[in-house]
Amino acid sequence: MPIKKKTRRLHLPTLRIDPDTPVSFRFGLKKYRGFAGDTIATALFARGIRIFSRSRKFRRPRGLYSLDGESANCLLNVNGFPNVHAETTPLQPKMRVRPQNRRYSLKRKFITALDRFDSAMPAGFYLRRFHKPRFLWPYFRKHLRRAAGIGQLKPNFRPPDRYEHLHVNAEVCVIGGGPAGMLAALAAAAQGLRVILLESRPWPGGHFDYRITPYREDILLFQRMRTLAEQVENVPGIRIFLRTAATGLYPDHQIMAVQTGTAGDPFDQRLIRINARSIVTATGCRERPLLFEHNDRPGVMQPETALRLARTYGILPGARAVFCVGHDDGLAAAVDLHDLGLTVQAVADLRTGGQNPALVEALAAREIPLLNGWTVLSARGKTAVEGVTLASPDGKETRGFKCDLLAASAGKIPAAELLTSAGAETAFGPGGEIQIRNLPPHVHTAGTLAGYDLADAIELSGQVAGLRAAADCGASVEADILTAKNALDSLPQKKPDGMPFPIQKTGKKVFVCFDMDVTVKEVRQACDLGFDRPELVKRLTGAGTGPGQGGMPGYTLPPVIAACTGKPVEEMQPSRVRPPVAPLLLATCATGHTSILKQSPAFPVQKKLGGLIQPVNGWEIAVRYSPDRAARSGIDTVRQHIGITDISTPGKFRIFGPDAEKALRRIFLGDLAGMVQGEARFGLMCSEQGWLMDRNLIARQGETDYFFITAPSLAAETVREWLDRHTAGEGWNFHLTALTDAMGGIRLAGPRTRELLQRLTESNVSNAAFPVLGYRRFRIRDEITVHAIRNPDLGEITCDLFVPASRTGALWEILIDAGRDLGIQPFGLTAETVLRLEKGVVNLHFEADRHATPVTMGLGEFLFRTPVEPGTVGLKVLREGSPRRGRARWKRVGFRMIRKEEGGRVPSEGAIVADDAVRGRISQCRYSPTLDAYIGTALVEESLTAEGTSLPVFAPDMQQKDDRLSVMVVPMPFYDPDNARAGQ
């Protein structure tokens, strides 16, 4: 039957398009025109396009089946984005739409050749074949990988940055803007609560929005919906998010939803995170696909889709139609579409009775034959439906019809994916109906999802759910709930239709899953192989793992398996759906997770000086100031002149109060007793199990006032919680103030440091007055007070200066100006790492791992203190032995490369020390320009720690047969072992 190139739009009061606003777009190379309010699919359908894609495996033509994006049939490439659901994506001006997964025209018939070789592609064929002979597997793998997946994303494609994250708080969240959802929102908002209403379509109304069935005597259902929508919009407490699909429900009543923007919105898509105290789900029902031969042909669609095309978009879905339905809404759709001009040749009803008598009369009045208990045997036509064959309940009688539209559905099933994602269970009842059980607390259902069919009952169920949600939030509405519930119970309840679900087991192309091209035949093959549960069949056949997830096959596959295995359907468990239930762009997910990095107060100065800025430990830090990766100039400056670097990133804390020392002794290993004012000492922070967490500098700045420094990774809250946890119940009087951000730090290091400082301060900074590990406070140029600590870690005269953060930049500039003639130069983190390594100082950034305890790191002296306090965190475990008793202990050693390997191979961090077994690992290895050698540290078995031992190193990029790199254990420190330079 020829398809008209252009379909004339109907003019109906239910329309949601604006026929006065045309919208131009491109599909492939051709230019098309739709109207504002269209989706891409409806605009294309209106212009005569019936084939939207080719299927994944058999390359069969696929057309518009549903308007809610339940299958991959209408996945298109839109503006460069692959796999966009054309049925749900609003049409926008100048869109560039392209079909995907096709090499030639969508209409070419020869590309359906694969369709004839289905017997060569049984269930899981790609898992079971192609592996023998083994040498051919790489060839097949290449081609299988090429065939896998749908759509292509160009590597250079850059989406526009129009994505957002939104955090919304409310007392009640209603998911679904149909009649039940709107009534629920109104009921909850009437209690003074903030309500959020999510609706996936561009307008509220649900499945009543396009129905002209009378609601009251002079009001039709769609008119009622428009009135309700207006009411909802005018309630200030209700916030409506249209074009917003919930993607998941999470514990603590968090809802994730994704909203699609329109031309006027500042975003293309945004992820909405909703915190609510109670949730009402009124997501309605969806139509269960009917299984018959060639049930995927373009022209086969859901009855609701056919009706929506006409009523919402003004498109008559065909010329001659046959209906096969399992619910009264399908009968109503047939009547309505007939009245709009569609020739309905027959209506097959899967049920043998129980239909609404008024609808039966209406069909009779229009001389449309109603075939009770009949089903579809097959659809005919190569690239679109050209006819159907219906079969009687006993299969003995068949009747053929010529048509271009087959509206087929096996009844309605609840759209319960969100509920199952939140932990609710679904199960099949004895009649094949879907039951929802074990709803999470403070989650309510309403409307057709809750099993109500009639308009009054649907609305009342929404009201009851809204009131229950209000009660969850503390509203006193028990009496109102009772009244509404009684009214609901008093309404005539429609007897459940039952769920007859005929399955054509004989055909070759009866599709259970459109997305993955899985047929009933394949399911039967899977069952024959012993895969007798939906979860197992899914894994072998792929049914339900396509872009639509379990949308279509979720409630279809289990009955098919039951039919194939002869088991009762109640024994089959529907698949659990995992979020995201609705698809969203990865760009939308990613946009809110741009890592926010901290900037040091000296950041602008470092940047001005040309520092190479990189993120380290959550900070933006200058790692070096020259192109040389080894940062030789920075190291030479420190060893020969004077270097300046930023040390603002470590944690800085003030702890004060009468019991401050006790608190410090509780969390730090090391002897802090007898520390006098103006003195600093090192301490170690260990976990309760004795693992080394940090090496800290602690200074006494007052009688009961201390200042200590932690690693950058130990944030203020971490330290505060650590201290609180380990001093809880002691009743000690001390206070901790985090100064990490309040104070900036500058480190001066080099033989001329003292000379520079003495130029700038009147205080005595000689070694006698300000020795190593001394703490002083003095003024620089009589402008600024600095806290200074002599730190021995770099092996030169080193002074760490701490000042208020806002003055750090200015102090840096003063120091640079004053030290210019002394050869002052900035150095970065790379140089500092090498300088510390030369001195053999533990660098936990590289060296901390599961083997790091104070003992293994050669810091055993920190375990001894007087008096011994058993409460000190980690001390007891450490004094009693290694926390990993019974296992080989690794110890820290220094090594030097035996061959000078500059420009060649050096062991990288994490490389293993291994002969016939793993004996240790390399912690760090760097080139030292001072020593002109590659040096490093490693954790190795105790037997390998002797000086002169050669360590065989196996790098991650080496092959088993390659020669090991060879390094030799040498004593540490590598540089200035007598500390003569630092203590000058």
């Binding site: 903030r194 926010i596 100064l739 951000d741 309040a742 009589d782 208020p804 750090t808």
Partner: protein
């Protein structure tokens, strides 16, 4: 040169070009932008107040402490805006004193006091559409009906720890303050400007916010 004249640098630098500055002032070493040519009249506005003095008080008996002759709020989470000062009670043993409209010459020399001016970045927002902007950067519930401004909320702001003080939530002209660790100040300011772009959020000088705060104070 004394400490008061030595330049202090704010953690936040707005992207406005130098010639957009309509008024500036050196104050205690800070280069304070009073007004921008481009800041417009309607808002919403984003103002950097990181230079305003902020003290932290910690101690067992801080209820006895009367900073600037004012009484601290009693309940943790409470805050009060009086005499140009925002008094915040963080916990039972800690409180904050933010001098928004006044400038005390010195901080009391008691152990309990710590000057936190340099520790945090302080950004202020004023004008319409603020709730929409804030929803893009924080999950904190700033519209909770039970809370009456001024109130504070602590939690993630742009994914990092922060504190938001709602001084006025009139939808047409709300006033909010945001603090976060100083190091994150620039990133948060950038994120705010991005989030508020569609609402017309523009950087503004201190004067704009001080006028609004004075109006807020006199309305009380």
């Amino acid at each position: 040169m004394t400490e008061e004249t030595m330049q202090r640098r704010s953690p936040v630098l707005f992207p406005n070009p130098p010639d957009d500055v309509a008024g500036r002032e050196m104050r205690k070493g800070w280069d304070v932008i009073l007004q921008y040519h481009s800041e417009g009249e309607t808002g919403p506005f984003l103002v950097d107040l990181s230079h305003r003095d902020r003290w932290e008080i910690r101690g067992e008996k801080i209820d006895r402490i009367r900073p600037l002759e004012m009484t601290l709020p009693e309940t943790p989470g409470q805050c009060r805006f009086q005499g140009g000062v925002l008094l915040l009670r963080f916990t039972g043993t800690s409180a904050g004193v933010w001098q928004l409209l006044i400038q005390s010459p010195f901080m009391p020399r008691e152990d309990a006091y710590t000057d936190m001016t340099d520790g945090d970045a302080l950004l202020a927002l004023a004008g319409p559409h603020l709730s929409g902007i804030m929803e893009k950067i924080t999950p904190l519930d700033l519209a909770v009906p039970a809370a009456r401004p001024p109130f504070q909320a602590t939690g993630p702001v742009c994914g990092i720890p922060g504190r938001i003080i709602v001084l006025d939530r009139n939808p047409d002209d709300a006033v909010m303050l945001i603090t976060c660790p100083r190091g994150y100040g620039q990133a948060v300011a950038d994120a705010l400007l991005k989030a508020g772009k569609s609402a017309g959020l523009t950087p503004a000088g201190e004067q704009r916010m001080l006028d609004r705060l004075r109006a807020l104070q006199s309305a009380k």
